[in-house]
């Protein structure tokens, strides 16, 4: 094998190796990618009353607008409770019929008082008899 040919082969091998390593790293990063960061995604601001009445009026259309989006919901806190895992649920007044139920991220502490106006940020997962938000945080003012 000539000197030149050997050199070409070396370059090809190096390039292939570099590509494999890059692809492997990209795949690894992709595989381990973190969950969406609710704190740093620009939310859609909406009043609790509007959110619930939009869902009550037309669920499919409301899903187009809100489903799986990060929402920042403002409304009156009417109840705080816990789910079976011990995570906090904040219930915001909606239309009188339906409410907005927000499951707080386990790490979030709060000192919100019922019957006071609050703003919660979380991911909307849809509507049953209430609108559900998960992985909620209380945004900084």
């Amino acid at each position: 094998m000539s000197q030149r040919r050997r050199k070409t082969w070396t370059w090809i091998m190096v390039t292939v190796l570099a590509l494999v390593i890059t692809a492997g790293y990209a795949a690894y990063r992709m595989y381990n990618k973190p969950h969406r960061d609710v704190q740093h995604i620009k939310p859609i601001p909406v009043a609790a009353m509007k959110l619930v009445s939009d869902y009550e009026a037309n669920e499919a259309r409301a899903n187009n607008e809100y489903l799986d989006k990060v929402l920042e919901v403002s409304g009156q806190l009417i109840e705080t409770t816990k789910n079976q895992q011990g995570e906090t649920i904040l219930v915001l007044d909606g239309t009188g019929m339906g409410t907005v139920r927000c499951t707080l991220e386990a790490s979030v502490q709060h000192d919100l008082k019922t019957k006071s106006p609050v703003t919660i940020r979380g991911i909307c997962t849809g509507y049953l008899t209430d609108v559900i938000l998960v992985r909620c945080i209380i945004p900084d003012k």
Partner: protein, 184 residues
Amino acid sequence: MKKQLAGLLVLFLALNAPAQNILLTKNGKISFYSRAKSPEKVEADNNEVSSVFNTETGDIVFAVLMKSFHFERALMEEHFHENYVESNKYPKSTFKGKIINMSSVNLSKDGVYPVTVEGEFTLHGVTRKVSYTGSLSVKAGKINATSKFSIKLKDYNVTIPSLVADKISEDIDISVDCRYEPKS
């Protein structure tokens, strides 16, 4: 869509029945996992399950938002919603049915009562008649419904891409755990 509306109507009617026989929860738990051959656990939890249970007739309804299923791994969660259950297209899963042996259950006495439930299960836009076993446990007046059963993905037209077919089992184990409160 019509089916979903009918499901909600049932839920709504159940909610409006006389209060004393009606138990409900808005934060029941449903988990599933795939008995996969991969070392990676394919499992997810949903803690926002709505359920209404009429203790007199045995009528029982569960409603689940698919997007509330949460995985440890973000990529898995994304694939689940986009490629498998198509949560944008089919945002809900419901079960409406009846406990057929309510006569053998005494809810005023502490204990664990085996039950059989029959009804219609809707997932990924497919509705099937099903029958599963579970139990009702009564402790200090609190009623807890649990069940473990498995479903076949192909029964609900959920297809596994061939690339990962050896990692995800065709059978998915589902467990239900709902602690009820009386309707206020």
